[in-house]
C-alpha cells in the first residue's frame, strides 16, 4: 500500500548544475608517470626504521639499509652502532608512510638473511659486554662507549663513521662473491679521517673496545685458524654454519666469542696503520673453505675524503609562473617555482624544508621522501629554474636550514649536516650534527621543522606516536608500527650552535608540523587536531607552559601547568592542520614587519596573526587570511636574503586540501597599497579593529556590514572537538554575536564594534564587508580567541 509513484519522469533531477566557471588553460605539464621509484638502485643506502627477520624483533630504529654489491644488503643502526643484519637477494620493501603511504608499518628486509644481531649496543667495553645503559631503549647509546658521526658516500660505497671509546672508526660494509656464495665484509680503518689514499698513518688505540659481529644461538663454536685466518665457525643443528674470519687484523685485535655472540676485541695500545676486515658468511658446512678463500682478499678502503663522483649529473630545467594568484587589492601575488615532480629518477618530490643560500640565487629543499634538491635561477622572471639533486637516502627530513652556506636537515634520526668535499654539487659526507632525539617504530613520530635563533641555536619538534587511524598514542599491541611513547614524544627541542647540547624546551604537543622562531629565541608552534588537541592552536612557548597533550611519559604535575594557546583556529574553515610560523623580518614585504605569519598545511593558506598583549607575558590573538592560492600546502616559509620576499614550500599527504603533492611559491609584495585589518584588540565594549587604510565612515559604521559568531571547544582525549555553544556546551554549532554598534575611530582607520554580551570564548569570528575611504571594498573574516577582556575586572570576565 506504499505509494510508489512510478510515473515516467523526465530527467529533471539529473540536471548538470550550471555555473559560470572559468577554464584555466592547461599547463604544459603532462600527466606524470604512474610509479615513483621509492627505492633507488643507483644510490647506496636508504635510512628508515627497518626490520630484519632474526633475531626476533630485530629492528634498527635509525636504520641504514646499505647496498653492499652482489645484490646483498646490510642493516646498520646509528643509535646503537650495531650492524643489525646482512642478507642476500634483495634490499627492503616499501612499507611505510613515506614509501607506499602505509600507516602502521615500516620497511622490512627483502631476501635471505645471513647474519643478525639483536637490539642493543653494537659497540662495547671489554669486560662489560654490550650492556644497554640507556634509561629507555631508544636514542643514541652512551656516547663515551660509542657515538655515531655520520657517513661518507663514495659512488656506491658507504663508509660509516663512529667513535668507539676515544677511537674514531671508519667502517666500509661490503661483500664478496664466489663459489661459496656471498660473504659480508666489514672493513675497518681506525683513527681520524685524513685526505689522501686509504693509508691511516699511525693510530694508537687508547681505550679498548669491542664490536659485535654476529649472534648465532644454539650453536657450537670452533675457534682457531682456518687456512691461516683467525676464524670462528658456528655450527648448529643441520648443515649450516656461520663463519666469522679476520683478515689483516693488527696485533691486539682479536675475534672473540661470548656465548652465542661473536665480537671483535680491539685492545688498548693497538697500533693500526692499515685497514683490516672481518668477513661474515653463512652457508652449508661443505662450503666453509670457499668462504675462507673469499675472506683472504686483502682489505681495502676507498679514499672517501676526496669526495665521490656525482650520482645525478643531470638537471631538471623548468620555467616558473608569475602571478598565479593575486590578493583583491593587488598588493600580493604568488609566483610559482615549478617543482621537479617529473624527473629522470622518478623520485617523488614532497618538500618538507627549505632555505636559501646566502647569494639568494639558490635554495635547498628537502623532501619527505629523503632527498635534498637545489634549485637555482630564483630571480624576477623565474625563467631558468635548474633543479639538481644534492643528497638522498635520508630518514624523513621535514626541516632544513642553511647556516654559512652549509645545509642542515632535521629528520627522524636528528640533525644532519652535509659536506660537499669535492664541490661537485653533491654531498659526500652526511654528518651527524646531533642525534639525541629518540625514535621508536611509530610511523607518526614525525620530526618537524628546523629553525634557528640569532644566537645560532637550532629548534625542532617531534610528534607523538599517533596510532594508525588517528586516536591515542603508542598502542604497540594494536600494531608494532604504532611505536611507543618515549620521553621525547610530543616535545620541542633546542640544540646548541655546536650541536653538542640537546634539551627539551617544551612538552605537550601532538603533531606540531611547524614552528616559528624569532631572532631572540621566542618560539611558537602550531599543532594538529586530535587527541587532547580540540582544534588548531597557536602555542606561545615560554619554557614553562605545558601545551596540553598528555601521554604516558608526561611528567607528573605537568598537566596542571597546561596553558592554552594564544589563539585557536577552527578546523572546519580556518586551519585543520598546521604548518610553520614565520616572523616578518623583511622591510620589503609590505606593512607587516615584525608581525607573525601562520601557515596552514590543511587549508593551504597563509594567515596574519594579530596579537594583543594582556600583560604578564599573556596574549590573545586573531588571524586573517591572505586570500592567495598556493601550488600545494603552506608548510615551510623563509624570507629571501636578497629580495626580501616570502617563499613558501609545502607538501600534501593526507587531510589537506592541497591538490598537488608539492609546491614552492613566492609571495611577492607588489608595492600596491594593502587594504585590510592589521590589528585586533578586545576592549571592554567589544572588539577594536585597526585597518591599513582610512575607512568610509558610512560603510564602517553600518552594523549591517558586520557579523560574528562564537563557539567553544572541548579539550579532551577524544579526537578533536565539535564546536559547541558558549551558553550550553551540550549544543553543537556556533552562536551569532549581537553586534549593536560600529564606531569609526578618530584616526579614521579603526572601528570599535560593540558586542552585546562580550565574553571570553575559545573562538570568535568576525566578518565584514566595508569600504575604504577611497571606495576600495574590504571584505574579510577573522577568527580570534578571547582569554580575557582587558579593562574589565577579572570577575566580570
Amino acid at each position: 500500500m506504499i505509494p510508489t509513484m512510478m510515473t515516467p519522469l523526465r530527467t529533471l533531477a539529473s540536471a548538470a548544475l550550471a555555473s559560470g566557471l572559468l577554464v584555466l588553460s592547461a599547463s604544459a605539464a603532462q600527466p606524470k608517470a604512474s610509479s615513483f621509484r621509492m627505492l633507488q638502485d643507483d644510490f647506496p643506502f636508504q635510512s628508515a626504521c627497518i626490520g630484519a627477520d632474526f633475531p626476533s624483533n630485530n629492528v634498527a630504529l635509525k636504520g641504514y639499509a646499505i647496498r653492499v654489491g652482489n645484490d646483498a644488503t646490510v642493516l646498520f643502526d646509528s643509535d646503537t652502532l650495531r650492524m643489525a643484519a646482512g642478507w642476500t637477494g634483495g634490499f627492503i620493501n616499501t612499507r611505510g608512510v613515506v614509501f607506499d603511504g602505509n600507516h602502521g608499518q615500516h620497511p622490512q628486509m627483502v631476501g635471505e638473511q645471513k647474519f643478525g644481531v639483536g637490539n642493543g649496543p653494537g659497540v662495547g667495553i671489554p669486560g662489560k659486554g654490550f650492556a644497554d645503559t640507556r634509561p629507555e631503549p631508544f636514542g643514541p647509546i652512551d656516547k663515551s662507549v660509542a657515538h655515531w658521526k655520520g657517513l661518507y658516500v663514495d659512488g656506491m660505497d658507504t663508509i660509516l663513521t663512529y667513535t668507539a671509546g676515544s677511537t674514531m672508526v671508519h667502517e666500509k660494509p661490503g661483500s664478496l662473491a664466489g663459489p661459496a656464495g656471498v660473504a659480508f665484509t666489514r672493513t675497518f680503518r681506525l683513527g681520524p679521517p685524513k685526505p689522501g689514499a686509504s693509508s691511516i698513518g699511525r693510530h694508537t688505540v687508547k681505550e679498548a673496545f669491542t664490536i659485535l659481529l654476529a649472534e648465532v644461538p644454539d650453536a657450537r663454536v670452533q675457534v682457531g685458524l682456518q687456512a691461516g685466518l683467525p676464524a670462528l665457525v658456528f655450527s648448529g643443528s643441520g648443515d649450516r654454519v656461520t663463519v666469522v674470519a679476520g683478515t689483516a687484523l693488527p696485533k691486539g685485535v682479536e675475534l672473540k666469542v661470548d656465548g652465542s655472540r661473536a665480537f671483535l676485541l680491539v685492545g688498548s695500545g693497538v697500533k693500526a696503520t692499515e685497514p683490516f676486515k672481518v668477513t661474515i658468511w653463512s652457508g652449508p658446512a661443505t662450503s666453509t673453505s670457499g668462504a675462507i678463500d673469499l675472506a683472504k682478499a686483502a682489505p681495502s678502503m676507498p679514499d672517501f675524503m676526496k669526495g665521490g663522483p656525482r650520482h645525478w649529473p643531470e638537471t631538471v630545467n623548468l620555467k616558473g609562473r608569475l602571478a598565479t594568484s593575486t590578493t583583491p587589492d593587488g598588493a600580493y601575488v604568488t609566483d610559482s617555482i615549478t617543482a621537479p615532480e617529473d624527473n629522470p629518477w622518478k623520485r617523488r618530490v614532497r618538500f618538507g624544508g627549505m632555505d636559501f643560500f646566502s647569494d639568494g640565487k639558490r635554495a635547498a629543499l628537502c623532501t619527505h621522501d629523503g632527498d635534498i634538491w637545489i634549485v637555482s635561477g630564483i630571480d624576477d622572471k623565474l625563467e631558468n629554474l635548474v633543479w639538481s639533486r644534492f643528497a638522498s637516502g635520508l630518514y624523513e627530513p621535514l626541516g632544513l636550514v642553511i647556516v654559512k652556506d652549509q645545509i642542515y636537515t632535521s629528520g627522524r634520526d636528528g640533525i644532519t649536516r652535509f659536506v660537499d668535499l669535492n664541490k661537485d654539487g653533491e654531498a659526500d659526507y652526511y654528518e651527524n650534527f646531533n642525534n639525541d632525539v629518540m625514535s621508536t617504530r611509530g610511523f607518526h613520530e614525525f620530526v618537524f621543522d628546523l629553525q634557528r635563533d640569532d644566537a645560532g641555536n637550532f629548534y625542532f619538534a617531534k610528534a607523538n606516536p599517533v596510532n594508525g587511524g588517528g586516536r591515542g598514542f603508542g598502542d604497540e599491541k594494536a600494531s608494532r608500527g604504532n611505536g611507543v611513547v618515549c620521553s621525547h614524544a610530543g616535545c620541542l627541542f633546542r640544540v646548541s650552535p655546536d650541536g653538542r647540547k640537546f634539551e627539551v624546551v617544551a612538552r605537550g604537543f601532538r603533531a606540531p608540523n611547524g614552528i616559528g622562531v624569532r631572532g631572540d629565541g621566542q618560539v611558537t608552534t602550531g599543532d594538529n587536531e586530535g587527541t587532547w588537541v580540540p582544534t588548531s592552536p597557536l602555542n606561545w612557548v615560554d619554557g614553562k607552559a605545558f601545551h596540553g597533550v598528555i601521554n604516558s611519559k608526561t611528567p607528573a604535575g605537568m598537566p596542571e601547568k597546561y596553558t592554552p594557546p594564544i589563539m585557536w583556529m577552527s578546523h572546519s574553515d580556518f586551519c585543520n592542520s598546521n604548518g610553520g610560523q614565520i616572523w616578518v623580518t623583511s622591510s620589503k614585504w609590505g606593512p607587516f614587519r615584525n608581525e607573525l605569519l601562520y601557515e596552514s598545511y590543511g587549508k593551504s593558506s597563509l594567515f596574519l596573526v594579530m596579537r594583543q598583549d594582556l600583560g604578564d607575558g599573556r596574549q590573545q590573538a586573531a588571524a586573517v587570511r591572505f586570500p592567495l592560492k598556493f601550488t600545494s600546502s603552506v608548510m615551510r616559509a623563509r624570507f629571501h636574503p636578497q629580495d626580501g620576499q616570502l617563499y613558501v614550500a609545502g607538501l600534501s599527504e593526507w587531510q589537506s586540501n592541497a591538490a598537488r603533492i608539492t609546491g614552492f611559491d613566492r609571495v611577492r609584495y607588489t608595492g600596491k597599497p594593502v587594504y585590510g585589518v592589521n590589528a585586533v584588540k578586545v576592549v571592554p565594549e567589544g572588539v577594536e579593529l585597526h585597518f591599513t587604510h582610512a575607512l568610509d565612515k558610512a560603510s564602517a559604521e553600518d552594523v549591517q556590514n558586520w557579523s560574528g559568531k562564537r563557539w567553544n571547544y572541548i579539550r579532551s582525549e577524544n579526537y578533536g572537538s565539535p564546536e559547541v555553544w558558549v551558553s550550553d556546551a551540550a549544543k553543537k554549532g556556533r552562536e551569532s554575536l549581537d553586534i549593536t554598534g560600529a564606531k569609526l575611530g578618530k584616526d579614521g582607520r579603526s572601528v570599535i564594534l560593540k558586542i552585546e554580551g562580550l565574553r571570553p570564548v575559545n573562538q570568535q569570528s568576525l566578518k565584514w564587508d566595508i569600504k575604504a575611504a577611497d571606495g576600495t571594498p574590504i571584505s574579510q573574516e577573522i577568527q580570534q580567541t578571547i582569554h580575557e577582556i582587558p579593562g574589565r575586572p577579572l570577575s566580570m570576565n
Binding site: 500500500m1 506504499i2 505509494p3 510508489t4 509513484m5 512510478m6 510515473t7 515516467p8 519522469l9 523526465r10 530527467t11 529533471l12 533531477a13 539529473s14 540536471a15 548538470a16 548544475l17 550550471a18 555555473s19 566557471l21 572559468l22 577554464v23 584555466l24 588553460s25 592547461a26 599547463s27 600527466p31 606524470k32 604512474s34 608512510v97 603511504g101 600507516h103 615532480e341 587511524g469 588517528g470 586516536r471 586530535g530 572546519s572 574553515d573 590543511g602 592560492k629 600534501s652 599527504e653 593526507w654 587531510q655 589537506s656 586540501n657 591538490a659 598537488r660 603533492i661 553600518d702 549591517q704 556590514n705 557579523s707 564546536e723 553543537k732 551569532s736 566578518k767 565584514w768 564587508d769
Partner: protein
C-alpha cells in the same frame, strides 16, 4: 504519566514549530518541551517556511524545510488538496550573516517567482535540466522577507528546487537554519487538522470505523495473535489488556474493558490468548550480560529505550522494565532477532542480530528488568479460556490483531457515517460514560481537538498519499532524528533529504544492502522493512527530486572522463581520495580519523546533484566534515592539467569513474 506523551510531543511539534525540522545538535525534544512549558500561544519565529498550496478550490497550509516540491503526474501536491493544477506559495524570512548580494537559481517545472524584501529575485518557467539564474539581490543582515510563488504546469509533473549562491557560498540549497516563519492562525488550524489525521492513522481508528483510502498506514497492523501464547506471558497480557496506558504511556492500544468485570474479563482473554500456542521459542543459549550491555551501547538502543536500570523515561522512549513479565522464556531473544515477524508495522527495527547477540541483549535487558512473577503452571480452566475466546471476538481486538478461525463480532460505524458533530463522544468523549463500550484512549484535549478538526474536514486526505507526507510523519514516529544528528558518526537527518537515491535508500532501510557504508562504525543501521519504500521515496520527493531516480545516461566520453576520474582519485597528481576512501577492494591508504565511504558504493547511493555539490564544497553541506574543499571560490579545480581545471568537468569525471562501481580501476 498517563498522558500519551509521544503523540502529544509530535502534536506540539507540529502546532508550534509547524514541522519536524530542527537544527543539528538541537534536540527536537528540547525545543518541543521547552515551548510546551511556555504554553501554546508563546510561539515565536520557527524554522522553515509556511507553504500554502491551493488546488481545486482547496487550500492547505503547512511548514516545509525548504522550497522543494516534486509532484508526479496525476498526483496531488499534498494529501490535503486534490490532484490537478495547483499553485504553491512559500512565505517567511530568509536570513543572512552579513548584508550581501545573493543570486537565486532554480530548476522548475511550472512557473516560479522568488521575491526578497518585495523585489523579484528570480522568475523561471519550465527550466528542464538547466538552472534558471536570477538577478543579484541584496539581503540585509538578519531577516529578509521571502516569498516564492509557483504555478504548476497544466499537465505533467511539477517540480521546484531552489538554490542560492553568493560570493563566498557555492551553489547550495537554502540552509534550514536561515529560513523562518511566524506561525499564523491559518497554519495552526491546518496543522491541527493534519495532526488529527496523523492521530487517526496512529490509533488505527479506521480498523474499526472502516475508511477506504490510500494512506499506507490505513492498513497498519498490530501484534498478531497467532501463536501468541508461546511468546507472551498470560499474567502480563491480562494486566496489559486491562490498562495498556499504565504499562506504556502513549501506546495506541486502547483500554477496551471497563467496569467491575474488567479484571476478570482481562484474565479470561489473557487465558485464551495464552492457549494460542505456536512455535515455541527455543530456550537457546544463555546470553552474556556484559556483552549485551556493550551491545546496547554500541547500537545506541538508548535512542528509543531508557538505559536499563534507569528510572528516567524520556517521552519518546519505551521502557523495558517489564520484559521478564512480558516475554516467555526465550521469546525476548527471538523477538530481538526479528521484531517484525508477528507485527509487520512494528517500530522496533531489525538490527540483524545474531542468535548470540540477541541472547546477550536479552540477558542484559532481563538483568535490569523487574523480576518475572511466578508462572501458574497449572492447566487453565477451559471455561475461562472459552469465555476469553468470546470476549476476544466481541471486544474488537480482532479489528487490529490477526487471528485465524475466530469470527470478529465487533462492529462499529464506518468513518463516513460518523458526522463531525459526533466526534465528542464515544472514543473521543472527554470523560467516557460508565458502561460505554467505546475504547478508552486517554486522549489529551489538544489531541481531541486535532481529531475533531480532522473530522470536520472532508476527510478526502485519507484517499491521498504522498511519499513526502509519509516521510515527515513516520520519521518522527520512528525516532530517526534520535540517532541521525545526535550520535557521532551518523549522518544528520537534514543532510539525508535529497542526498540518497530513492531506490538505494529503500533497499538500505529495508535491510537489503549487504555492504555497510560506514564500515568503521560500531553502530548499525537497522531495517524498517514496512516503512522502507515510503521513506526512501520521501527522502527524494521532499527534496523536490523524483521518487524514481531520473535517467542519468553516461556521456559519450564516459571512458575518457572515468580515466581522468581515476587520476583525480589518486594520490599522484590527483585529490588523493584514496587516502581516506577505499575503492572496491582497494583499501584506503592513509585513513586518519576520517575514514570515507567506499567509493564503489557511491554511484548507487548518491543523487548526482548531491554528489556534485558535495565534491564542490563538502563543508557547505556539512560544516563538520573532514573532507577537504578542493575547488576555489569560482569553482575551478586546482589541477589544471586534468580537463583544463574545469570545475564541472572535473566533478563529472569523478562521477563517471564512480559509475564503474565495483569495476573501478585502481587509482594511483
Amino acid at each position: 504519566m498517563n498522558t500519551p506523551l509521544r503523540s502529544l510531543g509530535s502534536l506540539v511539534s507540529r502546532v508550534l514549530l509547524g514541522n519536524r525540522w530542527h537544527l543539528e545538535g538541537l534536540a527536537v525534544g528540547m525545543v518541543v518541551w521547552g515551548m510546551l512549558a511556555q504554553g501554546l500561544g508563546a510561539a515565536e519565529q520557527s524554522m522553515g517556511l509556511v507553504r500554502t498550496i491551493t488546488a481545486g478550490g482547496v487550500t492547505d497550509v503547512s511548514v516545509t524545510p525548504n522550497v522543494w516540491l516534486f509532484v508526479p503526474t496525476g498526483q496531488p501536491p499534498t494529501p490535503f488538496v486534490p490532484a490537478g493544477p495547483f499553485t504553491a506559495r512559500w512565505e517567511g524570512s530568509i536570513s543572512a550573516d552579513l548584508r550581501g548580494d545573493f543570486t537565486f537559481q532554480a530548476l522548475a517545472q511550472g512557473s516560479l517567482k522568488v521575491s526578497v524584501n518585495g523585489a523579484t529575485a528570480l522568475e523561471a518557467k519550465d527550466t528542464g535540466p538547466t538552472l534558471a539564474i536570477g538577478q543579484s539581490v541584496r539581503l540585509n543582515k538578519g531577516s529578509n522577507s521571502f516569498r516564492v510563488e509557483f504555478t504548476a504546469p497544466a499537465m505533467g509533473e511539477a517540480m521546484v528546487r531552489l538554490f542560492w549562491t553568493n560570493r563566498e557560498t557555492p551553489l547550495s540549497t537554502l540552509p534550514l537554519a536561515q529560513l523562518s516563519h511566524e506561525p499564523t492562525e491559518a497554519l495552526r488550524r491546518s496543522t491541527s487538522m493534519h495532526e488529527g489525521r496523523d492521530l487517526l492513522l496512529e490509533f488505527r481508528c479506521a480498523r474499526c470505523h472502516e475508511a477506504p483510502g490510500k494512506v499506507p498506514e490505513l492498513s497498519m497492523d498490530a501484534p498478531s495473535f497467532k501463536g501468541i501464547g508461546s511468546r507472551r506471558q498470560v499474567a502480563w497480557m491480562a494486566a496489559w489488556i486491562q490498562d495498556p496506558q499504565a504499562h506504556r504511556p502513549g501506546t495506541p492500544m486502547p483500554a477496551m474493558l471497563s467496569g467491575d468485570t474488567a479484571a476478570a474479563d482481562a484474565a479470561s482473554m489473557a487465558a485464551y490468548l495464552g492457549s494460542l500456542k505456536g512455535e515455541e521459542p527455543s530456550a537457546g543459549q544463555t546470553g552474556n550480560l556484559e556483552t549485551g550491555k556493550a551491545l546496547f551501547e554500541k547500537l545506541h538502543c538508548v535512542a528509543c529505550h531508557p538505559t536499563p536500570g534507569s528510572t528516567e523515561l524520556k517521552p519518546h522512549q519505551v521502557s523495558q522494565k517489564a520484559v521478564n513479565a512480558k516475554f516467555t522464556p526465550g521469546a525476548l531473544a527471538a523477538f530481538l532477532q526479528k521484531p517484525e515477524q508477528h507485527f509487520r508495522w512494528i517500530r522496533m527495527p531489525n538490527f540483524k542480530l545474531t542468535a548470540a547477540e540477541a541472547a546477550d541483549l536479552a540477558a542484559y535487558l532481563g538483568s535490569a528488568a523487574d523480576p518475572a512473577p511466578a508462572v501458574d503452571a497449572g492447566k487453565p480452566d477451559p471455561a475461562k479460556v472459552e469465555q476469553g475466546r468470546k470476549l476476544v471476538a466481541a471486544t474488537g481486538c480482532l479489528n487490529c490483531h490477526a487471528l485465524d478461525g475466530v469470527k470478529n463480532e465487533f462492529t462499529a460505524k464506518p468513518l463516513a457515517q460518523l458526522a463531525s458533530t459526533s466526534w465528542t463522544s464515544g472514543c473521543l468523549a472527554e470523560k467516557p460514560s460508565a458502561g460505554s463500550k467505546a475504547p478508552r484512549y486517554t486522549l489529551t484535549a489538544p489531541q481531541r481537538a486535532a481529531l475533531q478538526a480532522f473530522g470536520a474536514s472532508d476527510r478526502s486526505s485519507l484517499d491521498r498519499s504522498t511519499a513526502a507526507d509519509f516521510l515527515e510523519r513516520q520519521s518522527v514516529h520512528l525516532n530517526c532524528r534520535e540517532c541521525h544528528g545526535q550520535f557521532e558518526g551518523f549522518p544528520a537527518w537534514d543532510h539525508l533529504v535529497g542526498k540518497l537515491k530513492p531506490e538505494w535508500a529503500a533497499r538500505f532501510i529495508r535491510g537489503e544492502v549487504a555492504v555497510k557504508p560506514r564500515s568503521w562504525g560500531e553502530y548499525r543501521m537497522p531495517a524498517f522493512p514496512a516503512y522502507a519504500q515510503g521513506l526512501g521515496e520521501g527522502l527524494s520527493t521532499l527534496a523536490g527530486l523524483p521518487p524514481v531516480t531520473a535517467p542519468d545516461p553516461a556521456p559519450a566520453d564516459t571512458a575518457t572522463l572515468a580515466e581522468a576520474g581515476r587520476k583525480l582519485a589518486g594520490a599522484n597528481g590527483g585529490f588523493g581520495c584514496v587516502s581516506c576512501h577505499s575503492i572496491g577492494e582497494f583499501g584506503a591508504t592513509q585513513v586518519f580519523e576520517a575514514p570515507g565511504i567506499n567509493l564503489a558504493t557511491s554511484f548507487d547511493r548518491l543523487q548526482p546533484d548531491y554528489f556534485r555539490r558535495w565534491l564542490r564544497a563538502p563543508t557547505t553541506i556539512d560544516p563538520a566534515s573532514k573532507m577537504p574543499v578542493y575547488f576555489d571560490e569560482e569553482g575551478r579545480s586546482p589541477l589544471p592539467e586534468i580537463l583544463g581545471g574545469d570545475g564541472p568537468k572535473t566533478i563529472q569525471a569523478v562521477w563517471e569513474y564512480l559509475r564503474l562501481k565495483e569495476a573501478m580501476a585502481k587509482p594511483e
